[in-house]
Symmetry: C2
Subunit: 326 residues, 2 copies
Amino acid sequence: MTNSDLSKIKAPINEELQNFNRLYKDSMKSSVTLVDLVTGYILKQKGKKIRPLLVLLSAKLCGGVTERSYRGAILVELLHTATLVHDDVVDDAKKRRGFPSINAIWKNKIAVLLGDYLLAKGLMLSVEGTDFDFLGIVTGTVKRMSEGELLQISKTRKLNLDEETYFRIISDKTASLLATCCEIGAHSATENEEKRQMMKEYGENLGMAFQIRDDILDLVGKTKIFGKDQGGDIKEKKVTLPLLYAIKNSPEKESAEVIKAIKKGADGESVKKIIEFAVKYKGIEHAEQVAMEYALKAEKSLEKFEDSPEKESLMSLLHFVVERNK
Amino acid sequence: MTNSDLSKIKAPINEELQNFNRLYKDSMKSSVTLVDLVTGYILKQKGKKIRPLLVLLSAKLCGGVTERSYRGAILVELLHTATLVHDDVVDDAKKRRGFPSINAIWKNKIAVLLGDYLLAKGLMLSVEGTDFDFLGIVTGTVKRMSEGELLQISKTRKLNLDEETYFRIISDKTASLLATCCEIGAHSATENEEKRQMMKEYGENLGMAFQIRDDILDLVGKTKIFGKDQGGDIKEKKVTLPLLYAIKNSPEKESAEVIKAIKKGADGESVKKIIEFAVKYKGIEHAEQVAMEYALKAEKSLEKFEDSPEKESLMSLLHFVVERNK
């Protein structure tokens, strides 16, 4: 997604996003200087803020951005930031968005504690605002996200993944949070249960399309400037949809060899060969088609809403998600 | 605290504790096999369960154990377990209660995620039970606990601690959770605001006494079978109450030397010398007195309650906390 594409998508809620940025910064304030130092560092990096964007667009589409919408947007962004900080500990990652990660600068100890702090802070804001519906939605999501990651780890170790488990993993670890953003946005703007449900489904399907595209790009995307190397998933023994499909739809002799190579710990040339195998047996094409199907499902969830700049933005977001090259 | 002392304290709520153990085990169940494997390992270790004990005793003292009391007890124990799992990652600890830690067996990745899972699970139970008052209490506590630890880290690094900051740190990182246990127990049993407040104060002061005793034992306790070495805090540059007092009440020449030795990273003989310094300048005596004062304050919070076996247990707990030798 280029920055200019994203600017267009953000246009209908530019003002609201500015309000959000101010409130988000305030929400992180702590009486502990070290906390302010680390959160100040996080704030300087300016992520894409896709999650608050989803909350605010969903709210506007469902009736209008309210005070509750801002609290919801802050909640999901704090939660997302907390999981990123923990993820970097988990993966021992030294970089995040091109900057040294929190654990790289301040060590694991501070990173784990700061993640806990940010999560608690987000939940506290919802308690203080008596947004109990948000709490129900979000605590279920945190549980699903950690379960999804844990399921992925256990399946990765044994390398016995099937498509059904793959879809469960990406739904839990990625789509659940995007669904939550849209659901919370809708909750903040309308009492209409049908609208809330439609927005949740939009977010879930957007998230599925997003993660599948991510998994495709890991195999055949251009090497990202700050991102992982091509085939990073293979090196980590993560078998994603394109490979799953290719393994199922290739002669047993070839697929057995590929599985053996992944198990052994593929690198360099053997990673290249495995990617070629995924392409040869139409794994990439298949995954692209599945991502497209999810995007279409998401589009369908928006059908009943009247046309508006917000709806336009949510549609554009779908296109970018399935078409992006990095 | 010996096991027989603890048995006596538990006697008035033996049946309730058995109910709790069953419900607690159920609460951890997951559809992800790996999660069940790790939580099964945690459950086998059987901690002292001081926190659920506090919830249930407080509830019984305030009117009786209810369904909400059990949910509260599960919430605090899940939260406590989550922080222990994260703490072991944070401290790179290889043992917990004499068993290999989660991170030692399953690595940091799984330990961080499992901690997040347990915390979310606890909060979800409260949401499902519509115990919104618990959520308000507990999210504030999680925030205080992480802030307390972070404050301790930043002060430890610079070695510029004063008594006021020391008390804030131990209040945030330890006393807040014990206060929460008693407050939640009271909330589950009575609408009486005065009783709720008294129980919260009891827990806070119990927690302060507990942590100060812990800090004393780190310096002059018998080496624990499974615990850390004597003077572990000094090696980690953690200056606790006994040393703070001794530094303030000794000739500047001596205190400057001690500070220098701690900063350099004390070990072996120099740790011994620093402990002798703390003893010589009455740091231990002073800290024991302060712990006793907190215990007396806690006792005072129970005064207005009628005599009962539960009250007796909560009193006994105070004695053990300030008198224990390990």
